[in-house]
Symmetry: C2
Subunit: 245 residues, 2 copies
């Protein structure tokens, strides 16, 4: 195994950071690495908002469900799927932009995720730790407003970046056979494999919490899926010009 | 700049591959690196189908818009956003799964993209070249059928992998100031910046095609956005259990 694969496989979310600051040069370099990711038909549909203002940070931390590391991390970035610059491009050529297609929502969202994963890896390669913050979608309308996001853009997730002040274990993933299939999808053996995997997750949580958390993967997932998942999302996205057809 | 950031910034799509085969061990290692990417609330919602069958490959190449490298590449992977295993998990605990939320579509799609980007980087770190194939969404219904994909899953994109038999230039990206904003979004200067960037893209295409392709970024984007974007997508995804609310 090479060193880059080693780095990829050693990822853990970091939620506690030292006071050491992160230079703007390093952030710029990470964002440039993000830009270098593949982009669907060269659309380059990701915009990053670096949030420095402390009042905005506190609001974001609260809206994300009181995740205080959003406030505390040396750097906080918001990754936005953004087709506003495509509107500008159409305006430059007096062209009418056809928008609202679900396909465009997919390409912009995927662009943003590929970009962000490069940023995460670039940051980790510099000894930094990161955590993705999907919680900003709790209050996606307020987040969009405070960041002054235009029509045809939405905040997909945030990311805290800083030097790690904790050293959590890597969380075990599903067995390879569950996620890699040959030629055709088959889930014939997946329930058995998940039940087996559940044991390792129970052991992981027990070791990490000194026996307090007693939970398997399938329990956690099934519990989560009995609740509504941010039911405001579709109407918000439609109001921003997405998912209309 | 460190070597990992160098690697990230040197990405180009590779569409022509040598005959050298890629071992299953390398692919397994890349997919395991994919699994190590961050995953929203630990949902692990990506499934990879490795397509070896030559008849299936030919069909996929045709459906993707006659992209012959889909047929020719040593390895072809299809990345699927997959919540079928979450249904299995709910069944294991006699829990009713609430599905169809747009939020779930976002998390599964993002999970898949983060996973795939790790696979791409792992492959490139082994000297391999890759290209993402969004074209499989042209015929997303047929692709899903031939891969036997269950409800609550959809093929997001494919990826060709192999040893490069070409050495294209890195494509210049938008100026950093267009994609990285401080505290609030502002596009006041973006039209000017895009016009400036257009010059470098025109030069890039001219150099790459011996003067034949004379096109800027904003022209390309504005041309593309005057056409409908895979208008079948929303009804297909709804039929698979996604984006219903």
């Amino acid at each position: 195994m090479n060193k880059i694969i080693d780095l990829l496989k050693s990822h853990r979310s970091i939620r506690k950071f030292t006071d050491q600051s992160v230079s703007q040069d390093v952030i710029n370099s990470c964002v440039a690495a993000g830009q270098a990711a593949a982009t669907s038909s060269f659309i380059q549909a990701c915009t990053v908002i670096q949030v420095n203002n402390s009042e905005t940070r506190s609001s974001l931390a609260e809206w994300a469900g009181n995740q205080k590391y959003v406030d505390e991390a040396p750097i906080f970035l918001v990754f936005c799927a953004d087709m506003n610059r495509h509107k500008l491009s159409c305006d430059m050529h007096d062209a009418e932009m056809l928008s609202g297609f679900t396909e465009q929502f997919i390409t912009a969202t995927v662009d943003c995720a590929l970009f962000a994963q490069n940023v995460a890896i670039a940051a980790e390669s510099e000894g930094l730790g990161v955590v993705y913050i999907g919680g900003i979608r709790n209050k996606i309308d307020k987040v969009s407003e405070v960041l002054n996001l235009p029509e045809l853009s939405y905040p997909v997730f945030g990311m805290c970046i800083g030097f790690p002040d904790q050293d959590p274990e890597v969380k075990p993933r599903l067995p390879l056979e569950v996620v890699l299939k040959q030629d055709k999808y088959s889930d014939d053996q997946d329930t058995t494999r998940i039940a087996e995997y559940d044991k390792s997750i129970r052991a992981y949580y027990q070791s990490r919490t000194g026996g307090q958390k007693d939970m398997t993967w399938s329990e956690q997932i099934s519990g989560m899926l009995q609740k509504e998942a941010r039911p405001h999302m579709l109407s918000f996205l439609k109001s921003r010009g997405f998912l209309q057809k």
